[in-house]
Amino acid sequence: MTAVVHTGLLTARALRQGARIPVFLVMNLVQPMIWLLLFGQLFRSVVEIPGFSAAGSYLEFITPGVVMMTAMFGAAWAGTAFVQDMDRGVMDRFLTSPTSRGALVASTMVYQAVVAVGQALVVLAVAWLCGARFGSTPAETALGVLALLLAVVLLTALFSALSNATALLTGQQEALIGISQLVTLPLMFLSSAVMDTRLSADWVADVARYNPFDWAVVAGREALAASPDWGVVWGRLGLLALAALVVGRLATLAFRTRQRSA
């Protein structure tokens, strides 16, 4: 119960402060649109390659990919908030008080999820304006979007936790830059986000099958398809949830490691 209240309080703090930097807000909304339009134009004709499995336009193919890219790249920076709190005495104040450790981690996840869901809705709206269509009936479209957003939330939770754990263990902004450059970019290209992996080398397709980022892309794309295979959607969402739980737990344990080395 305390953990839930604390998560609420700390999430409110993050949202309040996010809103105090309007530039952040604007950049967070503009960036996914740039991805969408850039990749959409750059690779427009790949759908014409024989063997490309997607039925619709390339824009429809990459929309879920761009949604997940935006969510993952944003969440990889979640630890920045911890680094800032550690640079000041704010983290020490939390840690010497009854503040729930789980809530500290969970609040950054919730904050990132709120931002990522907002970004996802913007991407979907822009894609729709550019002519992309998802689902076959309005009800199915709504259901598909909800499933996609759930994938966004789980992916965000997973990468926020990873970023938080890194922040707690290293206390360095540089380490977070490392994560986003060395981990997220390869994960993005080793997935079906912008390219059908059936057209890539076999090993890429193999790796993608174990890539949590690809789980989110596949779940989101399948949920938006004309006739979704819900077994695929729920299977990937389940894997994502499991991964988020495990890494979230590890991030909470990182507090203890920190105390031992402090």
Binding site: V5, H6, R13, R88, G89, D92, R93, Q172, Q259, A262
Partner: protein, 372 residues
Amino acid sequence: MPSTRTSAQETAIAAVDLRKTYPGGRGRPPVPALDGLSFAVPAGTVFALLGPNGAGKSTTARILTTLSRADAGTAHVAGIDVARDPERVRRTIGYVAQKPVTDPLDTGRENLVLAGRLQGLGARTARTRAAELLDRFALADAADRLVRTYSGGMARKLDVAMGIVHSPRVLFLDEPTTGLDPEARAGMWAEIERMTAVESMTVLLTTHYLDEADRLAANVAIVDRGRVVVAGTPDALKDELRGDGIVVELAAPAAAPAAGSAGPPGELVPDAGPALADRVTDAVRACSGVREVHLRGRTLRARAESGAAALPAVLAALDAAGVPVASATLARPSLDDVYLRRTGRTFAAAQSDAPGSSAGDDTEATAAGVAA
């Protein structure tokens, strides 16, 4: 059980033989931070850990507030073992770190309300308490401004208010006035004095300011290289130096000392040779209860069991010797004198040693690096 004791002189903080060594890393030797540090703080009093940078003060505070763990030794806060039951300790204490503990992108009020809520206060109680503290710390006018617009002194006052928002039984203040200008420091001292009078709590203060410990603390432990060198009330520590300092400025007789004069530099009256200086010191030394008479330039220093009793006799003796007096002052011995006597180095020297790279002295810098 220590926690069930109800005697008047309950011990709020007890540290026994704390030891802590930070790993050196990359071929550097391990850095000892605490080397068997022990002290006890009676409940309801202000206790100062006084020492130069790197003495181990902050490491001690971090162990007592559950941020860090000691390699050996035991520590109890409000009767609770910090290693065994850190969660209960956290519900009992307030901690104001050396670094700012507030959020620059929140207002003063938002900072206080959030701190209160996280400490378990209800929404309404937290708001009331925040308003009360903003008033008391004279921050009401700035209450709804972002903290990043605060001056250093205001921000530090808010830091202290954050530490007591939940009326903790034990408050840790880690160098509350470091980096403040003298005026802000004096203001902070007044706040801390008022605060400890209003809220009946135990305060552990770490400081490298001698005058701060002297002014605020009922008891002081002087810490050097990870150990308590000596502990007691500031007065008792100074009393062991026995007596007061007497400083007499002699007025210039006919010829003032000048650069390049024949006599050795710093002599009272060059033309008179050492004779006059001897006459002065002999006259003062003859006064009963006066010891350690030194004359340097026109400044005469001596110690006396009771300065107030000895001063008239000293003045009379100087008058009889025909030496006019410009001013006379009595000075109680300072903690600086105590520090010098106990550690063999002056406080200022220890302080300026601290940033150096020798193992014992950069302990806290390393500690901060590890913790960061």
